[in-house]
Subunit: 461 residues, 2 copies
């Protein structure tokens, strides 16, 4: 399979790409802020815009109503016997404030050099629209596709909506049946260096509340005579992780952790990674993590136990002399396969109760969990995707990530197919921040990569 | 020395006591709220009222201007060769809000049974005015006093003013030279059971701030790769005290602690104290404190190390997944003689720096300190005071307290004389709260006790 097989479509993309960019700008002009009810109509208008673009491309397309914002679904199933690729994306965007930090109206896209600046440019309108324009270009050029395609694009990714999750679970792989899912909602490892993201952490998020006296007490009158919830909370948290080795001390915590494979440690070690630049970029005096692992291994592939917030008693300026009635903390544990978020929550609670000092009561509240996921990194479709990215840039590096994308584990579990996380963004895209941008060259590169993926997948024997 | 020696004055007090109560009501009608600038004129009017009452009693009296509210000073020095007693009190009061919780106007005193209800009734106008009325009664009856007396009554005790502190230090025992100080601004151990408060704790109050990354980081992307300021803060606090034994672990912390004397442990053990009722009154499942000590010993005579507040990262509802840039805590150590607040602050800082995990920076801020104080519990004036209290109620019990009254240690250090903390209040006086009260019988009892103190002190050979 050589590049010449896609030459017809790639030439069309090259001729028409500025038109694609104009379409993307129209898409970006719709302020589809899902989290703000004031923008509800705009979100609806945005979903309809996308459905219309799917229809114009030659797909069958519809809006699927949900309890929240509608899903946009499209399909072209005219290649019987060939693989089916499901493209996922989201058409909603983050709020744009603080507005005063934007160089332009966040919903009036401006091209500055290679950068298309607008809210949603990279997250995820620009990346996801590359999927559609690739499919549209093939259909326009050839009247048919080498594979079957489906699109499912949601409207509440940025607002924590459950619509897609429920839809995927209820659908149970009927409408969404496919051979792989392609998601472009992440960044390349470095400019010009694409990556295949194959591992995401899961999460157990808990809140600890330690209660002592039924009200704040005078620390003079009662100090020394009662357990102090602040001291007790600190004790419990301190017992979660070894301060020297960084190991989590909850019994059983590591039992189901799948060790890093040799090839992973080797590939991670080969990645260009400037530890000193990383340290400087976050302003810490020194890096710290679990003994026996590199920084990338710690961040991508080892479970964590972190305080996200801690609070209680007198928190303002100056000195107030009280024994707080209660203190609390929010603690997240990022999990790796095959840790189970519910089991980890239980182990956490059992452990803190087993070491709980006397004189206080303890509440453990489970906020939410997400399953860790490791995606197949082998097989013909994975290889087709890797090769398609290499056709445009260079051979992708296989990476994992410390973050959690709940829909990935849902897709993986319900559909049982590889999830190809092919990011076209860059690390400096400022997503969720003012002046969000997407490199125009990456938009075009993404379209070309998907064209190649379609052709390569269609050529699988 | 028998009660008959004071019979003349005690009979006058009995005849005139209702008039004294009316005077106290006038004093209470002046809303001398020192902390609220809107009441500045009332505070001044209140100081002038008290000065005039001193003049009417036959003292020389004046207002001493300060940077804050004036001090009221009075003296009668017509007993050469006899002891000089300095009476301390304060004429300012706490704010009265929340007003809606008062049964009456807080500044329109109402007698309900034995209770005189008004802001300042017990804290400290009522208690301190008993001093003046005792002196006035003796002068009215006999035209002279058996001892020399001085009064220093301040107007910013409730607003943390420094005026009296500076005055005492600058005066350096000239104008305020005396043989003992009498303070009535506390409660009896129980109704009918007076106490002599001879020990107060000091304090070292510090704030710890642990800083990691220069901003909050995504706990997925960076978790495991950097030290978490919340975890580190908890570790540092957990290392301050042994969770099992309640011992403070700062090296040198106990070096200068004066052990409880045998007589103290014996007297404390004999005090009526219902541990179960105490536990219930503060709503804790169990009491907890330093191994080897009783609850009263812990609260009164052993140093503490308590979290007063802890904060950092995400402190609101729900879950936010960050590694906080910093976390902090406020920690107070209540000290006992002969611990030095500055030395303890230094030991604290040296210790936390010596155990500081890597990957963070640590700030230790010293808020303020106060010296612990133990007052002479022997000697003729102390015995005279104990006997005077016994004349009215019963033999006082000697008690200590966990709280800090900075002016006591200043008096003690600058004047070098016993400080007699003779409380006429009761534990249920609701000071600083709505419906503050002072028992009328304790007002009269206080006057009689001071009359007896004057006579007993005058009889010292």
């Amino acid at each position: 399979m050589s590049l010449t097989d896609s030459q017809d479509v790639l030439a069309r993309v090259e001729r028409e790409k500025e038109g694609y960019l104009e379409e993307l700008k129209d898409y970006l002009r719709i302020p589809s802020i899902s989290t703000d009810p004031a923008y509800r109509d705009e979100v609806l208008r945005c979903g309809a815009f996308l459905r219309d673009k799917m229809l114009q491309a030659g797909l069958e397309a519809e809006l699927i109503e949900t309890d929240g914002h509608p899903l946009v679904y499209g399909e072209w199933l005219g290649a019987p016997g060939k693989p089916t690729i499901l493209f996922y994306g989201h058409y909603d965007v983050q709020p744009a404030d603080p507005l005063e930090l934007w160089r332009h109206d966040p919903f009036e896209p401006v091209v500055e050099g290679d950068e298309l600046v607008a809210r949603g440019a990279t997250d995820d309108k620009g990346q996801s629209y590359a999927h559609l324009k690739a499919v549209a270009a093939v259909l326009a050029e050839r009247g048919k596709l080498p594979v079957n395609v489906k699109f499912i694009v949601e409207g509440e990714e940025e607002s924590g909506g459950e619509a897609l999750e429920s839809f995927v679970r209820q659908d149970a792989g009927r409408k969404l049946a496919c051979d792989c899912v392609v998601i472009s909602d992440s960044a390349m490892y470095a400019p010009g260096q694409p990556s295949l993201l194959y591992g995401l952490k899961g999460m157990t998020y808990v809140e600890l509340k330690v209660t002592g006296p039924d009200r704040d007490l005078h620390s003079g009158s009662y100090g020394g005579a009662v357990a102090n919830p602040g001291n007790v909370l600190a004790y419990l948290i301190a017992r979660l992780r070894d301060a020297e080795t960084g190991k989590v001390l909850i019994p059983g915590f590591y039992d189901k952790v799948r060790p890093l494979a040799d090839w992973e440690r080797e590939e991670f070690a080969r990645l260009p990674f400037d530890e000193e630049a990383y340290r400087r970029s976050i302003g810490v005096p020194e890096l710290f993590g679990e003994e026996g692992y590199t920084t990338l291994e710690r961040a991508w592939a080892r479970p964590t136990c972190d305080v996200n917030g801690i609070f209680g008693g007198y928190m303002k300026e100056g000195a107030k002399t009280i024994i707080p009635s209660w203190c609390g903390a929010k603690v997240s544990m990022r999990l790796v396969p095959d840790q189970d978020p519910h089991e980890i929550a239980r182990l956490f609670e059992d452990y803190v109760r087993s070491i709980q000092p006397k004189g206080v009561t303890l509440e453990v509240i489970s906020h939410h969990g997400a399953e860790p996921v490791l995606i197949e990194t082998e097989g013909p479709l994975v290889e087709a995707a890797m090769a398609a990215m290499a056709d445009v840039w260079k051979k992708p590096v296989r990476v994992r990530e410390g973050g959690t994308i709940p829909i990935v584990s849902t897709f993986s579990k319900v559909l049982g197919v590889p999830i190809l996380l092919l990011g076209f963004g860059l690390a400096d895209d400022r997503l969720h921040s003012p002046n969000e941008k997407f490199n125009v060259s990456n938009f075009y590169g993404g379209i070309r990569a998907i064209v190649r993926l379609l052709d390569r997948a269609g050529a699988i024997a």
